[in-house]
Symmetry: C2
Subunit: 484 residues, 2 copies
Amino acid sequence: MKSKLLLRFIIALVTVFAFHSRVFAIMPSGGEPQKAKYVFLFIGDGMGLAQVNLTQGYLASLEGKIGFKQLTFTAFPQVGLMSNYANDRLITCSAAAGTALATGHKTNINRISYDPSGKEPFESVASKAKKNGFKVGILTTVSIDHATPSVFYAHDTDRNMYFDIGTQLTRSDFDYFAGGGFMKMQDTIGNKIINLAKLAGENGYNVVNTREAFDKLAPGAGKTLVLSSGTAGEESLPFYLDMDPDDITLADYTAKAINLLSNDKGFFMMVEGGKIDWACHANDAATAIQEVIEFDKAIDNAFSFYLKHKDETLIIVTADHETGALGLGNNKTGYDSYLDRLKYQKSSVEVLYKIFAQFRVNKTGDTIADFNKIMKVVETEIGINSRMNSTLLTEDELTALKKTFVESVYYPGAGKGTYGQREPFIDAVIRLLAEKAGISWGSGAHTFINVPVYAIGAGAERFSGYIDNTDIPKRIAELMGISQ
Amino acid sequence: MKSKLLLRFIIALVTVFAFHSRVFAIMPSGGEPQKAKYVFLFIGDGMGLAQVNLTQGYLASLEGKIGFKQLTFTAFPQVGLMSNYANDRLITCSAAAGTALATGHKTNINRISYDPSGKEPFESVASKAKKNGFKVGILTTVSIDHATPSVFYAHDTDRNMYFDIGTQLTRSDFDYFAGGGFMKMQDTIGNKIINLAKLAGENGYNVVNTREAFDKLAPGAGKTLVLSSGTAGEESLPFYLDMDPDDITLADYTAKAINLLSNDKGFFMMVEGGKIDWACHANDAATAIQEVIEFDKAIDNAFSFYLKHKDETLIIVTADHETGALGLGNNKTGYDSYLDRLKYQKSSVEVLYKIFAQFRVNKTGDTIADFNKIMKVVETEIGINSRMNSTLLTEDELTALKKTFVESVYYPGAGKGTYGQREPFIDAVIRLLAEKAGISWGSGAHTFINVPVYAIGAGAERFSGYIDNTDIPKRIAELMGISQ
């Protein structure tokens, strides 16, 4: 009888315990974090909250709706706000911010995973992951030796030491690189000419630079370096707005990376939407929106992988900093927004600069005729000064524009910008379109506003709340179970 | 022997169970949310992420640091991003956004807790809380009948029906109101003159409008209405930057509310930092920063209460929308920030407008003498054009400023702004200071960027991630255990 009572007590206890254990299992663990085996770190260069919201509002406007359309990453369950100041400046650069995101250390402007004094290199979470047996991929839309990708595999006191950064890539032993080209493909060291593609080949890399060869890449390909700069500026992929249907995209790079890097031990992958920043430096809203959309498509490929490996996959989406002081309203339009007007722009500033350069070459000497001619191009390519698009310019706007045109074409005043040649006339027209759409740009540089963090999957809750950019790689390393 | 084994098994089981229960207890509950008995909803009107970060960066700069100083609310563990578009416009207003935050329904611009068609009133979470036996407080720095406070106790198809809104206040039976005055204190209904303070008294309110009477308020005071507009504009409290040491602040209002409303059943309190918005409409950065600091002090009082009642208190801090398209960088300063230059501004636009009005009255006819005279005031009051502050103006800036001055003083061009009279000259000088400090304003109106949400306490995790403004009152009601 006593035994029977005891037995009943045990059954009751086991039942309650089992219930609690089940509840426990579906909740984020406090002490022991879930193991993240497959980790994606997406960095939208220059992608602040304003850039994300502009894209969401624009997509809703195309459907005739007032509101926001969810992107894949904006629907992620965890949201954080991240500070990103550098050690020596409140407004950071991609090198210092990238170093923080890759290594967990604040440093000075222009350092590539190096300490402020320039004496001590910092190890990246990608290098640690590689050492711990994970496969590693570094993907970007800009040159593969640009600041954001390079902080994950190289160490230099200055981001402009492109050739040295490139040589470090070839020695990194990482499994997959995909981006634009090298900023400096070859250099003479001593009396020897060194070519980086050749050096990569000598170091065991399978170097791929055609769409055909890229498509053929399959598991077992070994260490791979994909270079694809096409006709775009500074060895980058073309802007998404300018791409042909068969151009290789960041989403393609990501799908291929998943295909090549999937393995039982796991992987770490950094994927950069690098030209969001470039579009924002030029205050080119329509192009920036398309870059965010392309970035989201790359994320969507990772999300499909996550759906098959939910318990072991972690996706983090963030930015290094905001670019352009983008404001989602302006003084001219006040409380009204006309975001769908941005859809008329057919080409990015990169292409428009080239078109404008032809005007400089072919100017007729008749400024009025030349101006009228370029205004036709502007109407076709940018959709500005069009009655049908409700983007007619005022007399004052036309007068100012004509002045800029004459200065640009007849007395070339174009200066060298952060990335690529600037054309004051094109920049002015692009800004007018933004104004007609109901937004504003406060700067051509970066800003110090917090950037959003979105996360889903194993340990994603560690990226919510208020964090600093140095927290990101520390928490990734912890969740992957690799040593600090 | 068998019994002994069973006993050991039971002990082992109980031990494991006890451990799991302990872990379970400290984690956010999944199915059954914690009960929030004391709820604070802080609304920083116009306080976007940029306004928060500017304040943080400014406070760090005063300590000679590069980075961000934590405010009480920025250190809260839960962070969310909230969309705030109205039913009929992407850029919302305080009435439509307030209605969403108070009732959980999207509506049209200017509605005060009324549906878009103007036929159906919406019930606020404050009214529901009152019905369910909670005490209710509505606190603000602006007039007590302004859009944000009124959506919690009134229903009107237009936010400008101030007198009607005021009469609804007197009938609300809410326990504590504290704000500026009424926009329309009395009106003639039929042939009867109705005074709102008198009406409130007749409806059982203890109406208090002196510092002395306010200080004496103690538990048991009964229903209370505190009015304190002082010498500031539009029946609001003075800007924090303009306050005298013994002026009543939002932090005082909050401390008193906690004192008066504490009871065993619990309370709901809405606290609005209403003049952050006003400062941002005027693009007055130094004043906006001080308003955020005052707002944070009010939050800090709630936080002290939370520390004593952690398990039952919920604090949510958010905004209705961003105002001003504030950018944390600009084209003139590029990558550099000089936030500490904002510390030289001694008075808000509200006071500066009054100073300027005197110049219009006392102009001598000698424009150069008058301009030189006002530039002395500008140097003293705003800290602009001072060698010591590194804010010297360029020749171009001075020329433009002189033109604006002449237009403002000799041919008054001041228009009526959203709140209060605008003075183009003062606005121009204020914007120059912002520019010298390294920030930018893209608009004098609101924008559609997401606003941040910060939360701590019972059920705070329900306010993290990506949410819409309509989610806020729904989740509060759920957590308070009151019917929808």
